[in-house]
Symmetry: D2
Amino acid sequence: MVYFNCDYMAGAHPEVLGALCETNLQKSVGYGFDSFTADARKAILDACGLEVGEVFFLQGGTQTNKIVIDRLLSRNDGVLCSDTAHINVHEAGAIEADGHKVITLPGLDGKLEARDVLQYMEDFYADDTNGHMVRPAMVYISHPTEFGTLYTRSELESLAEVCRKYRMPLYVDGARLAYGLCAEGTDVTLHDIARLADVFYIGGTKCGALFGEAVVTRHIDMLPRFMSLVKLHGGLLAKGRLLGVQFLSLFTDDLYMRIGRHADRLAMKLKDGLIEKGYRQYIDSPTNQQFFILSNEMIDRLSECLGFELWGPRGEQASVVRFVTDWSTTEEDVATLIALL
Amino acid sequence: MVYFNCDYMAGAHPEVLGALCETNLQKSVGYGFDSFTADARKAILDACGLEVGEVFFLQGGTQTNKIVIDRLLSRNDGVLCSDTAHINVHEAGAIEADGHKVITLPGLDGKLEARDVLQYMEDFYADDTNGHMVRPAMVYISHPTEFGTLYTRSELESLAEVCRKYRMPLYVDGARLAYGLCAEGTDVTLHDIARLADVFYIGGTKCGALFGEAVVTRHIDMLPRFMSLVKLHGGLLAKGRLLGVQFLSLFTDDLYMRIGRHADRLAMKLKDGLIEKGYRQYIDSPTNQQFFILSNEMIDRLSECLGFELWGPRGEQASVVRFVTDWSTTEEDVATLIALL
Amino acid sequence: MVYFNCDYMAGAHPEVLGALCETNLQKSVGYGFDSFTADARKAILDACGLEVGEVFFLQGGTQTNKIVIDRLLSRNDGVLCSDTAHINVHEAGAIEADGHKVITLPGLDGKLEARDVLQYMEDFYADDTNGHMVRPAMVYISHPTEFGTLYTRSELESLAEVCRKYRMPLYVDGARLAYGLCAEGTDVTLHDIARLADVFYIGGTKCGALFGEAVVTRHIDMLPRFMSLVKLHGGLLAKGRLLGVQFLSLFTDDLYMRIGRHADRLAMKLKDGLIEKGYRQYIDSPTNQQFFILSNEMIDRLSECLGFELWGPRGEQASVVRFVTDWSTTEEDVATLIALL
Amino acid sequence: MVYFNCDYMAGAHPEVLGALCETNLQKSVGYGFDSFTADARKAILDACGLEVGEVFFLQGGTQTNKIVIDRLLSRNDGVLCSDTAHINVHEAGAIEADGHKVITLPGLDGKLEARDVLQYMEDFYADDTNGHMVRPAMVYISHPTEFGTLYTRSELESLAEVCRKYRMPLYVDGARLAYGLCAEGTDVTLHDIARLADVFYIGGTKCGALFGEAVVTRHIDMLPRFMSLVKLHGGLLAKGRLLGVQFLSLFTDDLYMRIGRHADRLAMKLKDGLIEKGYRQYIDSPTNQQFFILSNEMIDRLSECLGFELWGPRGEQASVVRFVTDWSTTEEDVATLIALL
């Protein structure tokens, strides 16, 4: 059986697991006050090209979105995002559970457009009854998006500009950031993200770690008393050094980018293979998630020897499926898939 | 100056205010345990044709929606409604503030269609990842809607049927219920509402009271420990008898319906007058809110001697405006308006 | 039957009700943007001796505490108070419902002592693990307290000083402020409260209004976007002018103080009468609430022709009872009570 | 340097880490639907002597307390516990953040007494104003407590009985359960906990895992839609199998009990050594946490070559310190400590 279901089916990249094993018997203080974590923070700021800034480590993506948004918003504020945003659809109401409205705008291929945000803000402030409405006070985007698509540098700059105009933080969910940074043709670097996003996170869970996400901000005071808020949300890891050790490993010898490049390369190979065989893309993604439209007959046949994901409800004749690559995907896996089609 | 801005510009209907004055010096226990409140409960159940049921009095519409929804939903549940629903747009995030997602479907003239609810529910339960999504666990509609439109009895029955199928309570926001019940041509009675809605409220604030809404349910156990929940939300009136006295008055000598009929009759007169003069309706409402499209020039001229509301942002050439009637609107007011056009 | 149960058994003081009747047919815009409310704001700032400041009107005490505290605290902050504080005991969890911990210190006769607050703060900041604890970020007191007792000006100054030291707002719950300001022997004036409290409220519900409380702060920016927060909490009154009209009346011709003096004078008469007859005070209160210890036999006999409140659980032989006076209490009521003992 | 600070300073017990390494390259579905997790569930139910029941895996103690309590309580319910309970003191307001009041009773050596709970419940239901109070609707205890002390089986039975009487779930926080079950002289077994607690958790983080806690309940319907609630709280681990693999290892070859016995044995050795040398216990704990009173002089000297924890604020002359053992503590570590005294 070969698996393309998602990018969190295996454990950790062997180098990450190796680092955990090597340090296992060393004793350190808890809650992220250890030296591994300090070193990981430094490595990340360096990679981001930030001389000042803050880095916090959390355990998963929904947890990260939930806590960052809870910190950035006041009680009667909401977060603007695309209607297909992870926080709107697949976080079981995690944002609303903390009292914040998720305000959606129609997205294009999963992306939020700066001009739509601008229009919404202008309308909001022009409306006399806006005291009865939720104030949009931050913008959420994911890069890559939930459809694997990418913003261009210029698009990010436009979003950042609208956000600046209305003094709203721009927050970038980088659950699959490695695959975004390494995509062929992208002009967005980690330095760009670090400079344009007010807060963003570098995904570990889906990019080679057992678990873990690194929240980064170039603003020293934007996430005050964050550790205590993390504790309140039940997200503070006792053995915090586990996150430090893993991220230190990911940011040593370019591992994070090596993982991104590997998965993207195989994803392109997979895409080319499918297109060559005449299959139709549902959306054109340059990253490790590939969406194709397959006949239900083909889906049933493939399912017998291949793992992949049905994307949304099954259609009458054909349905959308998703194939995902990661560090553990091999050339043989892709060859097997293509041979089966 | 003549005012058509909204239905809460004056104090209370003179009969309601008279009742408050007459009882002012009588002493009674607090928090709604008084005999006025008990009598009002009885009068309302009678008017609803309910032999068993519960009635609770609250102070305003948003408060009522917020507390009822908070009681009906579990922590990880959401409420389904039209995208133009008051709870989605104009309650400043009151529902989300209690942790509940407002899940919207496109409405038609402000109305939610049973088949759209059914489709959403089918899709939800067909989706393997619905554990990552907010479970829709109740349906909210308003009658009349935010656009003054009305459901037919058959439409309400269809909605009730879908709700029953998925064991979701159907909740009806009756902020302007008087105007809905008294509209020409409606086939929906208070008995119908009481029988089809699992919980609904009879609006007082916009229908002749100083303030106050009456929550009604035919299910004895659907709103457990409700008074305590009202207290938690800061909605428990110390002098609870004020609500009892007012609603007792509204449900004495058919006052509630008299108010509804009066306002609806004048609204129809107003509508006919505008149509006759060639003005275009934005939406066709049979109740006390009338929406017309006027040239900006006319709007500016009217504003000098007339109060009314701009509905949404001002257009380039023309804009939508709202005229509202209530118990305090007179024949002369309507004649003045028509003469000005 | 004569009633001393509480200070919210009758309607409104006749002058307040008169004002509501006189203005009933006047039309005004909603939500507190009317001129009555503007005038009431001005009258209150004047009475407080404040040249700059903000005044907001709400409907009840728990609602006011809940919303003010929700505005003053960040997500991971708590409020310090006495263990007998209303917010800790009798608000059904209204503060916690918004996510804030109520942190209690042992009170003395219902009062919080500045040195206890100071000690708590010193300990908190000396504790290495305080990141795992709730940060105390404001202080709540009531004046008069839940036991009718009063702070001295010097005690308030000490509390204000500790608060200033730790940059915590001092919030004063003035549900029964009229009775505090008019108590014999108090050296605390409304000017003192306005100058020492960062935020406080002037109680209307228990001091002559049908309902309503006036939140006052001398800091222009301490309660940002407050109206919208009030809406979110379901506390925004559509006919906001009802609050303006009532408070304007209370602050015309010294009515608020006349109400306070009347009730306090009768309360002292009642106290003297009971003491003279040999009854023992449970606590010595200089305001309109009087607490005495009566034999259960006497309690049962009195209950037949007198309304009063059992304070806490009934004892084996004797129990604590509360007698309350207000604007509607008469000399005859007090004479009747004393004659019965 | 030798460390006794806490039981989460090293990584995982070598057998647990070994299991993670062995399974690292195997692919499995996410979110705990894998076979490792299924096997771990079965192993735990077996160890608990439960034929029916549910097991859920979470990542840390505060997260577990927070989510379980959020599921067990309705909106206007609170949780009863000792004033020294972890949820009251050291979880940064995690319980209140979800809207629930933590209602405290004075504890004895960290333990909650059944008769105190009974008294509180009787008083609550006897109070006429309890609609204005938070209803206590569950009981929280920890075993071992925050002071390392243990309930007897009879004490647990009494608590369970009071809970049953008032239909409140009894919830046991077993963050350090291994050390409780293996303590010399305890008559409480895992079967007892499973039979008396309605819900409890078996701590992994402090008992040999990298992280992880196993929530167990013998009631099939007590934690409905729990996975979705976990997601809402940001606690759902993408690679859920990491928890399954670790707990399967802990419940293979009696590892969980071996870890408990090892740490308890060394803790007793440490305790005997200190007592023998004349040091005074702060509290007598039979488990892996030992509390002693040391002179500040001794504390300063020890700190140079030993890690341990100051417990609370430093005293004038002497202070309380805590020494903790775990699976990674060696005989030599204890000998070193004793030699230094």
